[in-house]
C-alpha cells in the first residue's frame, strides 16, 4: 500500500508486518462498522444503552470511513491514529453506561476490555508506522540510455512494418482508419 511512488519512497523501506497489521485493522474497522449499522438495537440492548441506537449507528459510519481510509490510502498512518481517537471516544461512551443502575454492566465491562485491547494494538501500529524515520531518497537510477534499439530509435521505428499480422489478429476492415475519398473534380463550365 505504500512505498510505490516518489512521495512514498521518501518514507524509507516498507515494513510488511506493520503494513499487514494496518490492513487487518482496516478490515476489522469495516466489519465492526457494518455490525454497528446493521444491528444497533441489539448492541444497545446488550450494553443496556437503550435510546443510543442512533449514536451506535453513527459510530458504525465512522468505523467504515476509517477502514476505507486505511485500506485505500498510500500511507495509513493518519488513519490508524484516527482509530486511536475513535477508541477513546468508544471508551468514553461505554464509561457512561457504567453509571447508575445498568443491569448490563458486566457486558459493558467486557466491551471496554475488548476496546482497550484494540486500542493497545492501534497505538502500537500507529507508533510503529510513525517511528519509521524518513530516509533520504536513494539516488534515482538513470535509465535514459536504455533504449533497447542497438541502431537507435530512428532506425527501429517502423522496422517491423514488414510483419504480416495474422488473419485472426487483424482488425475488422470496417474498423480501420477512415479516409475521406477524393470527390471527383467537376470541370468548371467554360465562361
Amino acid at each position: 500500500m505504500r512505498y510505490e511512488t516518489e512521495r512514498t519512497r521518501r518514507r524509507g523501506h516498507a515494513d510488511t508486518a506493520t503494513d499487514t497489521l494496518a490492513r487487518g485493522l482496516g478490515i476489522f474497522s469495516i466489519a465492526l462498522g457494518i455490525a454497528e449499522i446493521a444491528a444497533p438495537r441489539a448492541l444497545a440492548r446488550a450494553l443496556g444503552m437503550k435510546g443510543q441506537e442512533g449514536l451506535i449507528a453513527g459510530y458504525g459510519v465512522r468505523e467504515i470511513a476509517t477502514g476505507i481510509g486505511i485500506l485505500a490510502s498510500k500511507d495509513p498512518t493518519p488513519w490508524i491514529w484516527g482509530r486511536v481517537a475513535g477508541d477513546g471516544l468508544d471508551l468514553a461512551t461505554l464509561a457512561t453506561a457504567l453509571e447508575g443502575r445498568n443491569p448490563k454492566k458486566g457486558n459493558v465491562g467486557i466491551a471496554m476490555a475488548a476496546v482497550a485491547g484494540m486500542t493497545a494494538l492501534d497505538v502500537y501500529c500507529a507508533q510503529t508506522l510513525s517511528r519509521e524515520t524518513p530516509h533520504p531518497l536513494p539516488p534515482m537510477q538513470d535509465y535514459s540510455d536504455r533504449t533497447g534499439y542497438p541502431g537507435g530509435i530512428e532506425q527501429s521505428h517502423g522496422a517491423a512494418r514488414d510483419f504480416e499480422v495474422p488473419r485472426d489478429f487483424r482488425a475488422p476492415e470496417a474498423m480501420r482508419p477512415y479516409t475521406q475519398p477524393q470527390t471527383p473534380q467537376r470541370p468548371m463550365p467554360s465562361m
Binding site: E4, P150, H157, P177
Partner: protein, 390 residues
C-alpha cells in the same frame, strides 16, 4: 539441486530439492543457465492467484542447455542444444496448437479438469504457475524438466548472450503479441498502462510496428525514465489526470489502441473505483482490481481496440460494458502464444532491430532470489527486471 520454492504468501526460499528426472519419453532435462523473475510471479508471491501448494518450484522464464533427452524427443533435440523454454507448455499436435493458439493447448495441462471448472475449458500447462495450469515445477532452479520437450522449446544460436535471448520465453513475445493484437496502423496512438517489463516490451514492439505515437502510463520514476528512452511519451498518474492527458495528446479523440500491461493488481490510490476495489478485495468480495480496464474502456477512441496481456485471475466488478458496447470497442486478450512469434523475434534480435536486455536492472545468484522478490515487488532500488544465474 537448488531451486526457489514457494512456501506461502511472501515466503519463497532457496531450497535443496531432488534433481528432475525424465518421466515421459517426450521429456528433456535442461541445465538452466539464466532465468528471470516475472511480474506475474508476484501474483503468486502475494498469493493473489489460487492453486499454489507449499513446495512448488517457481519460475517460467528460463533458458539453458539440454543435458538429457527422452526417446521421443530425440529427433527434435539433442544433448548440448541451447534452448529458451517458452512459459506455455505445448504439444504441437492438438487442434489449438495447429492453429497457433499455443496458450490454449488442449493436452498439456495435466490438471485440465480443474481449469475447465474455473474457466469452462482447459488452457495450456504452464511452468511454475499453480496447479490450475498443471502444477509443473518451474525454472528458477539449477535444472528443469521440460515436458513435451520436442515442441516446447526455442532453439537459439550460440554466440548471442543469454541476456538478449532469455526474454523470448515470455515478456518479449508477450509485449509483442499485445502490440500485434492492436493491428497497429501508421496513424495510431497506442496507450500502454504499466511500464513494467511487459509494458516496456510493448512500447518497443509498438515502435517497431510503426505506431505514430506511443504513450506509457505509470508512476514509478525509473520505469517512466526507461519508457521515455524507448520512445514513449509518459504520464505519471500520481501527478496528472490520465484521461485528460490522453485526450490532450490525441486532440480530444482518445487513443485508437490501448494496452493493459498491469492486470489484476492495479494501484491507483485516490480514485473512487480504486478505493472500492481495495475494500471489496480486502473483504474477499472481488478477486481482481480492474481500474485499468475501466479507464481504458472510457478513454479509448470509438471503434478502437483494447489489448489485454495483463493477467486477470477471476471475477471483476463494475466493468463499463456499456462504454465497450456503445463505442464498438474490440477486446483482444489471452496468455501469449509464445512459439507463434519467436522465430520472427529471434530474427529481429539477430538483425539488431531490438536488444531486449535493456530491461535488466539486477543480475544475482539463485540464493539471492528470495530477497529479490521483495525488492522487485516493492519497486525498490530502481528494480525493473531481475535475472537469476543458477
Amino acid at each position: 539441486m537448488k531451486a526457489l520454492v514457494w512456501h506461502g504468501t511472501t515466503d519463497i526460499r532457496c531450497d535443496s530439492v531432488p534433481d528432475p528426472q525424465i518421466e515421459h519419453p517426450r521429456d528433456a532435462i535442461i541445465k538452466v543457465t539464466s532465468c528471470a523473475i516475472c511480474g506475474s510471479d508476484l501474483h503468486l508471491y502475494d498469493h493473489f492467484m489460487p492453486g499454489m501448494k507449499s513446495g512448488d518450484i517457481m519460475g517460467h522464464e528460463t533458458m539453458g542447455e539440454v543435458v538429457e533427452v527422452g526417446a521421443e524427443s530425440k529427433g527434435k533435440l539433442k544433448v548440448g542444444d541451447r534452448v529458451v523454454i517458452p512459459f506455455t507448455i505445448i504439444c504441437g499436435e492438438c487442434d489449438q496448437c495447429k492453429r497457433g493458439n499455443f496458450s490454449v493447448c488442449e493436452r498439456t495441462n495435466r490438471n485440465g479438469h480443474i481449469a475447465a471448472k474455473a474457466f469452462g475449458h482447459t488452457t495450456a500447462g504452464l511452468f511454475g504457475y499453480t496447479h490450475l495450469t498443471g502444477g509443473y515445477p518451474g525454472g528458477q532452479a539449477e535444472y528443469l524438466r521440460v515436458p513435451f520437450a520436442d515442441a516446447t522449446h526455442i532453439k537459439v544460436p550460440n554466440g548471442i548472450p543469454d541476456e538478449k535471448l532469455l526474454f523470448l520465453s515470455d515478456i518479449f513475445p508477450t509485449g509483442w503479441q499485445a502490440a500485434v493484437q492492436c493491428d497497429i496502423e501508421p496513424t495510431d496512438t497506442v496507450a500502454i498502462w504499466g511500464a513494467g517489463p511487459v509494458g516496456q516490451m510493448a512500447i518497443r514492439s509498438a515502435i517497431l510496428l510503426g505506431a505514430k505515437q506511443v504513450i506509457a502510463i505509470d508512476r514509478v520514476p525509473e520505469r517512466l525514465d526507461m519508457a521515455r528512452a524507448g520512445g514513449a511519451i509518459t504520464i505519471n498518474f500520481d501527478e496528472e489526470s490520465v484521461i485528460e492527458r490522453l485526450n490532450e495528446l490525441t486532440n480530444g479523440k482518445g487513443p485508437e489502441k490501448c494496452i493493459d500491461a498491469v492486470g489484476m493488481e492495479a494501484h491507483a490510490a485516490g480514485t473512487v473505483d480504486a478505493m472500492y476495489d481495495r475494500v471489496k478485495q480486502a473483504t474477499m468480495m472481488e478477486t481482481d482490481r480492474p481500474h485499468v480496464l475501466r479507464e481504458m474502456a472510457y478513454v479509448c477512441r470509438p471503434a478502437g481496440t483494447l489489448s489485454i496481456p495483463g493477467v486477470y485471475g477471476g471475477l471483476l466488478d463494475k466493468i463499463p460494458f456499456g462504454a465497450i458496447m456503445n463505442k464498438g470497442l474490440t477486446i483482444r486478450t489471452g496468455q501469449t502464444h509464445v512459439n507463434r512469434w519467436t522465430d520472427d523475434l529471434l530474427r529481429r534480435i539477430e538483425e539488431g532491430q531490438i536488444d531486449p536486455s535493456f530491461v535488466i536492472t539486477h543480475t544475482v545468484g539463485l540464493n539471492e532470489g528470495p530477497d529479490m522478490y521483495k525488492i522487485f515487488r516493492d519497486k525498490q532500488d530502481g528494480c525493473i527486471k531481475v535475472v537469476l544465474k543458477p
